[in-house]
Amino acid sequence: MLIKFISCAGESLKVKSIGKVNIIGSGLAGLSAAISLAENGIPVNLLSVQGSGRAQSNLAEGGINAALDVMGEDDTVNEHFEDTMKSGCYLADPEMVRGLTYTAPEIVRQLDIAGVPFNRRDGHIIQRNFGGQKKKRTAFAKSSTGKMIMTALTDAARRYEAQGLIIRFPQHVFVSADIKDGACSGLRAYDIFRRKGLHLYGPVIMACGGMSGMFAGHTTGAAVNTGLAAAELFCSGAELGNMELIQYHPTTFRIDDKRLLVSEAARGEGGRLFFDDNGKRNYFMEEKFGERGNLMPRDVVSREMERCGRQIFLDMSSVGNDIWENNLSDMREEIIHYSRLDPAKEPIPVSPGIHYFMGGILTDISHRTNIKGLFAAGECACAYHGANRLGGNSLLGALYGGHIAALSVYDDIKKYGTEVAGIADDEEMGYDITESDDEKRSGKELCETVLKGMGILRNEEGIKASLDEVKELRIKAVSKRIERKALLMEAMLLSALNRKESRGAHVRTDYPETLDEYRKISVAEYKDGDIRISLRDI
């Protein structure tokens, strides 16, 4: 039963009803959760800073993994499982990864049914090579896979919007959750257009993406994913997991204050990395790892590039015209537009850039957090990717995770029912979405400080130095937002300090070995004004 939206809808807010479940973020994870709940007849509120069309999921290029076994290589879901575990350096929960990889073929089939224009041959979806996987397992739509999937799912969600089962609150920023005695009963958000607050009751699924916005100028991701929602929840008692694990994508280049991704598809389709050695090209990845060297997992490639200590180039001269035309035309056009170099004709200079956050809000296999009634899915959650995410697994993780989170909420509702489904009210919140100059400056300073200690290669001295500086910046924080941001960054640095080993994206020059005793999740908790880091069994 829908509860009418009685108390507050202003003129401009065309809300006819109110949902029983709240989802923060309308990227792939949020859409997947919303559609799954709506399909089960549960009305949801779908809140996001910007509409689905603007979410980072639209930027995804190279593709989505699933062992469809269509390339004549005898691929199996078990090999997908094993590659994911191995690439994640065995830091992910095998049961969760099994769920993800075994469901992947069905997910891609469902996307096909929803009209995603995957590249095909003779009517059948084709797949390409991606890093860290021996078989062609990545389904793609040229180099715009994310955009194609998002368009199809945004269309699919519209049907439920018409039925009043998905109620959109675009231009709403998450402010805080109602958390008391370890349980979440709702949230407060701020309506950017109306400049008013909104209070919603019911369980909350966080699907607010990664933390790119905190590292402006250094990441390939969307500026709108500020990580502030995760920071706020952390300060309200939600546990964060593996915050030290940040993926640097090997092939990016700087454009203004962001890094542009050159998709892994470039190497999947034949691109090779080299540096100039006195006029001779040194294809260092092939030298060290053999024929498939360029397609080693991202952590390995980025680390090797960093160790080279010179400008690395991507050579795509061996890519044939038909591949450029059918599989990579959009990527080529983008590179030419922003770098003025044509990758089909000349090598392009690349360097590693922050691309993905394996860590985030810690969840269990059913996407529940340590707070009852609070769930997390997609890039904001610490879930499937262990110490290093496989390319093509995060679109999959967002779709699958959103779905599982929805099923868990559905189970809870069936078991316990819901109290008042939800009310909303107009609140003068005194919130300002636009950062002040001081906040902008502090944010930048925090980012630069953290990155000094949390680059691709790390050591105790560097991490500690960053930590001291971040603490100082926190004490001087010009706003609550900056204070929260600083606390989240401290949690990252403390987790990095505590993991005295090298694993996946976490490379400690002072602790180069991978140690069995550290095959555990780094858990960060905020209690009584202190951050505590511990290691928890997987």
């Binding site: 096909d112 009209g115 715009s144 955009k147 699919a156 950017i192 454009i255 636009t434």
Partner: protein, 233 residues
């Protein structure tokens, strides 16, 4: 290389608009307008009307690489994406920046483009049935649309209150007509007629402005053929 950004400011749709100027030195003419806007602060404000205190600029961006449509605005009278247009594209020293003019103003350079979604919602733009495993090229081309609204801004026939959804709506219809079962076409065609066909004067002002390089003409021809002349896509 010095440039002056002359920005139209307005606190809300009811308040009085005013102009504010910032001096920037982007160093490189390839720097995008979006990057320049992200650098603005009180320090480089050089002109403000009397009694107007400094307030950080309100505008939207997300991807900074022409893939989300958030940063659409008008620069030197040209509707464009701020992350596409570069400071060097303006010949003179002054660059005039204004919000899109045809959408309701929220604040400064932020406008309300929700009409684009509402139009699709009213016309039941969702797939009704299993997608066909063909016409991927058309579906791909149509799905490239980032709903930036630039084509609507420039179209002589589109206005906020009208029933014409412009090319932003056409692309969504085109994706469905390419992918959905034939039996859906009749119902779809009647919506298409109202939302697209009847309103389009074929001025094709939109053709060259699309920042996502959507082949608008091709999609329009194919969609018209399918919806009006009942030809298969």
């Amino acid at each position: 290389m010095k440039k002056i950004l002359c920005i139209k400011r307005q606190e809300n749709s009811e308040s009085r608009p005013y102009r504010e100027e910032y001096e920037i030195d982007p160093g490189d003419s390839n720097v995008t307008i979006a990057a320049a806007l992200r650098l603005l602060s009180e320090e480089n404000r050089i002109y403000a009307e009397r009694d107007i205190p400094y307030r950080a600029l309100v505008w939207e961006c997300s991807c900074l690489q022409r893939k989300c449509g958030a940063c659409a605005m008008v620069v030197d009278n040209v509707p464009c994406l701020a992350c596409d247009r570069r400071v060097g594209d303006s010949r003179g020293e002054r660059i005039v920046i204004e919000p899109l003019r045809k959408f309701p103003l929220i604040c400064d350079l932020m406008v309300d483009r929700s009409i684009m979604d509402e139009m699709l919602y009213e016309h039941e733009v969702w797939l009704k049935g299993r997608a066909k495993e063909k016409n991927d090229d058309i579906a791909f081309e149509a799905s490239k649309c980032i709903k930036c609204g630039l084509c609507l801004e420039i179209c002589p026939n589109w206005h906020l209150e009208g029933s014409f959804g412009g090319m932003a709506a056409m692309t969504s219809f085109a994706r469905l007509m390419a992918k959905e079962p034939e039996e859906q076409l009749r119902e779809r065609a009647s919506h298409y007629k109202t939302a697209v066909y009847n309103g389009c004067g074929k001025s094709l002002a939109c053709r060259d402005i699309c920042p996502a390089s959507v082949d608008i003409e091709k999609l329009l021809v194919k969609s018209n053929a399918a919806a009006i002349w009942k030809r298969r896509m």
